[in-house]
Amino acid sequence: MSSNTASSSAGSGDSSAARKNSKRPKCIDYSSALLSLTLLDSKFTQQELPACKPILTPGWVISTFLIVSVIFIPLGVISLFASQDVVEIVDRYDNDCIPAPARTNKVAFIQGAAPKSCNRTLTVTKRMKQPIYVYYQLENFYQNHRRYVKSRSDSQLRSPKFENQISACKPEDDAGGKPIVPCGLIAWSLFNGTYTLSRNNTPLAVNKKGIAWKSDKEHKFGNKVFPKNFQKGNLTGGATLNPDIPLSEQEDLIVWMRTAALPTFRKLYGKIETDLENGDTIQVTLQNNYNTYSFSGNKKLVLSTTSWLGGKNDFLGIAYLTVGGICFFLALAFTIMYLVKPRRLGDPSYLSWNRNPGGGR
């Protein structure tokens, strides 16, 4: 590197001289130096910063496991309780809503012109406090497919100015040369099933407002953007949209366009804002329009209350209990091990290469 030895030696002389000047005395007068930064400085360069050196003594190991289990087991119980509190009615209807003769070729039925109306009856087995959320659940539907996810135009959704930004939307970008609003596969495949609920023959109101995220309504979907040329292509996908309502008000679309992460997903359909009592029967008249048959996807209608933890899912509670349990077991195991076969801390007789796992060559 330094072929120019004279200059480099001169340079190093300077720098080492400078270094020497910055040297701290080896014996530090602590009382006066404590306040000054110099102490820290030299401790830093000498790599002697005050430090905590955690080591896994038996005490530490056992107490860590114990603490984890002591925290996790109650958390698991609480989560499990929260999940148990939730009342959930799930009704899979995709098969039953096809008239028996058509069941051999479901795809033909769903694509045909026959009426798709279907009646279902649900029984409330436990009191459900309002709000009760109505979801539709699709399975084996890949909303997270790369082609699908990318097939949208965020700028077009937000503002009428960017109506023509449809390059990402192919093949649902335009209809007869005119841009589709909203464009793309996501919007095009909008879920078009509908549910009409009634309890004991009195209609049960399903509030379809306020089911979308506030930020979506306010910032992602423009209130001046109206559907145009939607579902006017050569192939009709899912639901149509009312061209007189701005996108920000089309909450079904907003919910649908917030794509799901996994192939099994629920989407909010609406909210029931009255309590349902134990034993109530609920008649559902549904339009079984959406084609999940060609890809063998299930369709379910879900009514569910929520707890502070959300919907019904025991997994979290069980997982907490399991991990807590494992930790408890490990704590026990280690305690027994240390009792049965105690090793004096830092027993140097273990300082042998033969015992070391990596010691073998």
């Binding site: 192919k170 995220w213 996908g237 629920r266 930790c327 990596g358």
Partner: protein, 1195 residues
């Protein structure tokens, strides 16, 4: 200028017989003008139109790697020579195509960041070089200007042909041709330390024609030098001076090379021949061979493994993708299955009818997507870490040498971790183990030994043998003489002029006269104090002159023909000045091994005074001069055993007639210009150097450096093997070996030598082949014997392991030549590796390098060579790590080294502390890097399985690209820079800890794969726990369900928490910096989330408000985070707990031990905490060391 008077009457050139006027070989000179010898220099006439036409480059020197113009392209090119970086560049380019699973800027940004960081580092380093260049280029030198006066000019403005004047102790600005000097005969002394590391002064000599007065040299014009083109040979120069119609051949004797220094000469005038990059020193400038550490080489392999994993999972994914995509259209091709993807009107990437092609494209996409398996920031992080580690090494106070004001210097940061893996140290002796400052300690005069002092070797030997305090200790303490550098002689019979009362006073007088006269030193009288110091070619000589000064023979002036002494007369005891006329100097050379002077004393008698090695001197003694031969030989043997360097002192009187005849012959030989001139001079000198009368012998100590025995002891406790490669005699080497506890009492010594009678007889017969054959057989036999000896010891040792037998191998240079033979080297190495220490005596620089190579390649272990002189350069460059001692011997070794320390003893700290730490840090850092990237990368893969392998990443693009750069990098760097398993004090206290590095435990494949497995397990825990808890139900009280963005954020948070907490539980050293970085990184992630989420949705897309609005208010997200983080850390934690319980590592035990001690001694004083170990622990440790050494001897 008053100081520049010429030394009248000084014709030093006459004194020197051998070196000065070397004959030139005519052949070379005939080549002038032809190719390679085309340079033409117009002296003192640089504005000559012809000279201008030649257009030689200026004296501007640039050692920078880059210039402002080429910095960007060149440094970029350097960057992309790394495979990993190319991969990322390709990915960045492809990311502009629809193949990319994420947006192009999110790929480019981290790449640019990483590349930019490296470029900034390169730039800063280059800037520093540039500053040095500027400093050198702007130095001033006196140049003869047009008006005929010398005026100051910057170095960089020098041109070829300029006449420059350089004063004492200044550096030469370019390669100069010496024209004249302050001495009348145009000689000057030059120190070439910066070039070849030799500290002795070299004499340069101007041509007679040019060596004129300063005033007339100014008019020196019209001379034309024709010479060779610039080349890198420091010791050759071929040229002719054409001046006033005559041709004068030029030789290296006239060349003054850039970066050497003018000494002992008031000034010189020279003409610039080579400038700038044409100078020999610049032509010599080569980068030291770039060495890579073993860990880095292994890391490359791991990167390849990761590449294979990447390809495997990408391939798996694309197979599945192909199958699924093909099924999107029914077999008859009419109906669509997943109609919402419009498989009827799709692009080639998703085309079901061409599923194979689609899956091929998907493969490319997947390669990019899972690219997170390969840590983009790994290389740059490692570099940053290593530079910081080097700074710590440079800053270490414990390795700072106050006396010479030299801190340790890591000249390269590549090899820090290699320092922790050294298996064998190959050390030079002189200047490395010893100080290379000679001290006159003993002498033997006329059969009486003088000098009561104990040498360090003797002291160490005594200590080894367990003798009690030295008897003369008190006397030495009471020694009234002030300490003089180079003089450590004390004997009440001799000092303070007491010698005149000795019965042999006359001989003592003669003895010291020889020492005071027979040398080539130059006295330097301090004008104010009158104190005299000496400039000598070798430290031995200086020691002699100083000794004679201290004992009353003060050499104070030297002129061309006279040497003047202040002397004590042995009869009257008064001080008198005596002047000796100096007639001839027969210099020392390595073949002659002696030096003589011929003087005429004030009594007008001719004397030949001589000193030399015992091997050549005894045979030159006269019959009547051997009076004390037996005693002297005995003393010499004793001195050698005490590790001293001895010279025999003798003299003779020459009668006038004999001298006259001899002088004639000698002068004839001297003036010859034929090839065999040297031989003739030798022969002539031989004729007069005979019939000598023995006076006695001197013994000079080459002192052991401070702390060397302790350091070696520690290093061998650490299981490091130490080889000493020295040029010394076998006896001296063995004694030094004992002194520095390389050889110990109770160690079996295996001596391999060719000094056996039968080989000597063969040698006398002169049959070279027979000698070689016999030698080979002899070495072979000796090696075999050694082997069986060690083997026998190993087996018997097993039962009685209380007293392990260690072996020390000593081999001399001649034997080494045969032992390094291809056929024997294996056996030699085998034997040597069974021995705890090895000493190779009388080894040449080349042999040193060969031995180093043999050890390096033969054992495959890491070797470290340490040395201080130019003769060690080969060894330093050959070894895995070269450590230079930046001591007195100049810079050559340091320049070739990777680390420079001031004292040998610092090696202990460099290896046991810094090496150990650096190794540990880098190993852990790399493992952790792979862990964190596998954790992250595999969550992507699992997610793919749930997204029909379409290539949609689980996370937002920008989360991913910031992963390696912002959310996880700083803690790793902190780990790499600051982590320490045990403190420096404990590292030194338990040298055995060092074996962790030598056996490469922390970077073994088990460990690396273990960490990788840990990463994959973590990723599974993170992914499956997250998707199951967040599944499809509402995740908040308001009934909202989890979508793509929420799942991504939650899972990503889990990853960030897990890898950072994993860091927290795997490091051993928690300072505020670690806290800051680890928790800070997590904090940065949330900060990023908030800031990025508040950007307009077109930019932030799926991250828009996701944290603030959706996931933060959801308790289940936080509960998931806690669950996942703890669960993901559980496997590692449990493993560690089990490991510490059942198979603890060294540092675990040591740390635990300290902890318990502190517990036990908690109430005692603070000093008890840092106090010694309990006795039984100490005992057990001792026991273990014994085991270790036994283990070594088995291997």
């Amino acid at each position: 200028m008053a100081g520049e008077r010429r030394h009248k009457g000084m014709r030093l050139s006459k004194l020197y017989s051998f070196k000065c006027l070397k004959p030139f070989s005519k052949e070379d000179h005939s080549q002038i003008g032809s190719r390679g010898y085309s340079r033409v220099v117009f002296c003192n006439d640089p504005d000559n139109p012809e000279a201008l036409q030649l257009n030689y480059r200026g004296n501007y020197v640039s050692t920078t790697k880059y210039t402002a113009a080429n910095f960007i392209p060149k440094s970029l090119f350097e960057q992309f020579r790394r495979v990993a970086n190319i991969y990322f560049l390709v990915v960045a380019f492809v990311s502009f195509s629809p193949l990319a699973p994420y947006t192009a800027p999110s790929v480019l940004a981290p790449l640019l960041f990483v590349i930019g960081a490296t470029m900034v580092k390169e730039g800063v380093e280059d800037l520093r070089r540039r500053r040095q260049d500027i400093e050198a280029n702007n130095r001033r030198v006196l140049v003869l200007s047009k008006n005929g006066e010398f005026s100051k000019t910057k170095w960089k403005n020098l041109r070829v042909g300029d006449l420059v004047k350089v004063h004492k102790d200044e550096y030469f600005p370019a390669d100069l041709l010496l024209l004249s000097s302050s001495y009348e005969d145009g000689v000057c002394y030059v120190e070439t330390m910066n070039l070849d590391g030799e500290t002795n002064l070299k004499l340069k000599h101007a041509l007679e024609i040019t060596s004129v007065e300063e005033s007339s040299i100014k008019n020196f014009r019209g001379g034309v030098i024709k010479c060779e083109d610039p080349n890198e040979h420091l010791y050759s120069f071929v040229g002719t001076l054409h001046y006033q119609g005559q041709q004068y051949p030029l030789s290296p004797q006239q060349m003054l090379l850039r970066d050497s220094k003018l000494r002992n000469t008031d000034f010189i005038v020279g003409v610039v021949v080579f400038t700038g990059h044409d100078t020999k020193v610049m032509q010599n400038a080569t980068d030291p061979p770039s060495k890579r550490s073993k860990i880095e080489r292994k890391m490359d392999k791991i990167v390849y493994i990761l590449f294979s994993i990447l390809i495997v999972i990408a391939f798996t994914g694309s197979v599945f993708f192909g199958i699924i995509t093909r099924r999107d259209v029914t077999d008859d091709g009419k109906k669509m299955r997943r109609w919402y993807l419009r498989p009827d009107r799709t692009t080639v990437f998703y085309e079901p009818r061409r599923a194979v092609l689609a899956s091929f494209f998907h493969f490319l996409t997947a390669l990019m997507l899972y690219g997170y398996l390969i840590p983009i920031s790994l290389y740059v992080s490692i570099e940053v870490v290593k530079v910081l580690q080097s700074i710590f090494i440079n800053q270490d106070q414990e390795m700072y040498h106050e006396e010479t004001d030299r801190p340790a210097r890591a000249r390269t940061s590549n090899l820090n971790e290699e320092l922790g893996q050294v298996d064998t140290i190959l050390s030079d002796k002189t200047g490395t183990l010893t100080c290379n400052s000679m001290e006159f300690v003993k002498c033997s005069i006329s059969g009486t030994a003088y000098g009561r002092g104990m040498t360090e070797v003797e002291l160490a030997l005594r200590k080894q043998k367990g003798m009690s305090m030295r008897p003369q200790d008190d006397e030495i303490k009471a020694n009234p003489t002030k300490s003089v550098k180079g003089f450590n002689f004390w004997d009440e019979r001799v000092v303070d002029g007491q010698w005149i009362n000795q019965p042999n006073a006359e001989l003592i007088q003669k003895f010291f006269r020889v020492l005071a006269i027979c040398h080539t030193a130059i006295p330097d009288v301090d004008g104010e104090s009158g104190e005299i110091s000496y400039e000598a070619e070798s430290p031995d000589e200086a020691a002699f002159v100083i000794a004679s000064r201290e004992l009353g023979f003060e050499f104070f002036a030297r002129s061309q023909t006279h040497i003047s002494l202040h002397e004590i007369d042995h009869v009257s005891g008064e001080k008198v000045d005596r002047v000796y006329e100096l007639l001839h100097v027969l210099e020392f050379s390595s073949s002659r091994k002696r030096m003589s002077v011929i003087v005429r004393n004030p009594e007008n008698r001719l004397l030949l005074l001589s000193k030399g090695a015992d091997s050549v001197m005894f045979e030159r003694l006269a019959k009547h001069g051997r009076q004390f031969e037996r005693e002297t030989k005995e003393h010499i043997k004793r001195y050698a055993e005490a590790g001293l360097r001895t010279l025999v002192i003798a003299y003779r009187e020459v009668d006038e007639e004999e001298y006259r005849i001899w002088e004639e012959e000698f002068l004839n030989a001297k003036t010859l210009v034929t090839e065999d001139r040297d031989a003739l001079i030798d022969a002539a000198a031989d004729k007069i150097e005979k019939d000598l009368i023995l006076l006695g012998s001197t013994a000079v100590e080459d002192k052991l450096q401070k702390g060397v025995p302790d350091c070696i002891e520690k290093l061998s406790q650490a299981g490091v093997k130490i080889w000493v490669l020295t040029g010394d005699k076998t006896e001296t080497a063995i004694n030094i070996g004992y002194a520095c506890s390389l050889l110990r009492e109770g160690m079996e010594k295996i001596l391999i030598t060719l000094d056996s009678p039968d080989i000597e007889t063969l040698e006398k017969q002169g049959d070279k082949d027979a000698v070689a054959k016999a030698s080979f057989q002899s070495i072979k036999k000796q090696l075999r014997e050694g082997m069986s000896q060690t083997a026998a010891a190993a087996t018997t040792d097993d039962s009685a392991n209380e007293k392990p037998e260690m072996f020390g191998l000593v081999i001399d240079g001649k034997s080494l030549t045969f032992a390094l033979d291809k056929k024997l080297e294996k056996e030699f190495l085998e034997l040597a590796s069974r021995c705890g220490s090895v000493i190779c005596c009388r080894s040449s620089p080349k042999q040193k390098a060969l031995v180093t190579r043999l050890v390096k390649t033969g054992t495959g272990r890491t070797t470290l060579a340490i040395g201080d002189g130019a003769n060690d350069v080969g060894m330093l460059q050959e070894a895995d790590i070269g450590v230079g001692i930046s001591g007195a011997e100049g810079m050559q070794a340091v320049m070739a080294s990777d680390f420079a320390i001031a004292q040998f003893r610092f090696l202990e700290r460099l290896l046991l502390v810094h090496g150990h730490w650096c190794y540990r840090r880098i190993a852990m850092m790399i493992c952790y890097f792979f862990y964190k990237n596998l954790t992250f990368g595999f969550t992507l893969f699992w997610y793919e399985a749930y997204a029909s392998f379409s290539g949609k990443p689980a996370y937002n693009d920008w989360y991913m690209s910031c992963y390696n750069v912002f959310f996880t990098s700083l803690p790793v760097i902190a780990l790499g820079v600051f982590d320490q398993d045990v403190s420096a004090r404990l590292c030194l206290k338990y040298p055995l800890l060092y074996q962790e590095g030598v056996q490469n435990i922390l970077f073994s494949w088990e460990r690396i794969l273990g960490w990788m497995l840990n990463g994959i397990i973590s990723s599974m825990i993170i992914f499956f726990l997250t998707i199951n808890t967040l599944a499809s139900q509402a995740f908040r009280k308001d009934g909202q369900v989890v979508d793509y963005s929420v799942l991504g954020v939650t899972m990503y948070s889990c990853v960030v928490w897990t890898v950072n907490c994993q860091m927290a539980i795997s490091i051993n050293y928690f300072t505020w910096i670690q806290h800051c970085f680890i928790w800070g990184s997590i904090g940065v992630w949330y900060l990023f989330l908030v800031i990025y989420g508040s950007l307009p949705p077109t930019f932030s897309t799926t991250a828009y408000q996701v944290f603030v609005e959706t996931s933060a208010p959801s308790p289940i997200c936080w509960l998931t985070l806690v669950l996942v983080t703890f669960s993901a850390l559980l496997p590692y934690f449990t493993y560690r707990a089990f490991q510490i319980k059942f198979r603890p590592m060294y540092h675990d035990i040591i740390v635990e031990q300290r902890r318990t001690e502190r517990f036990e001694s908690g109430t005692r004083t603070a000093s008890a905490v840092s106090g010694e170990l309990p006795v039984q622990v100490e005992f057990t440790l001792h026991h273990l060391k014994a085991n270790l050494s036994r283990r070594d001897s088995w291997n």
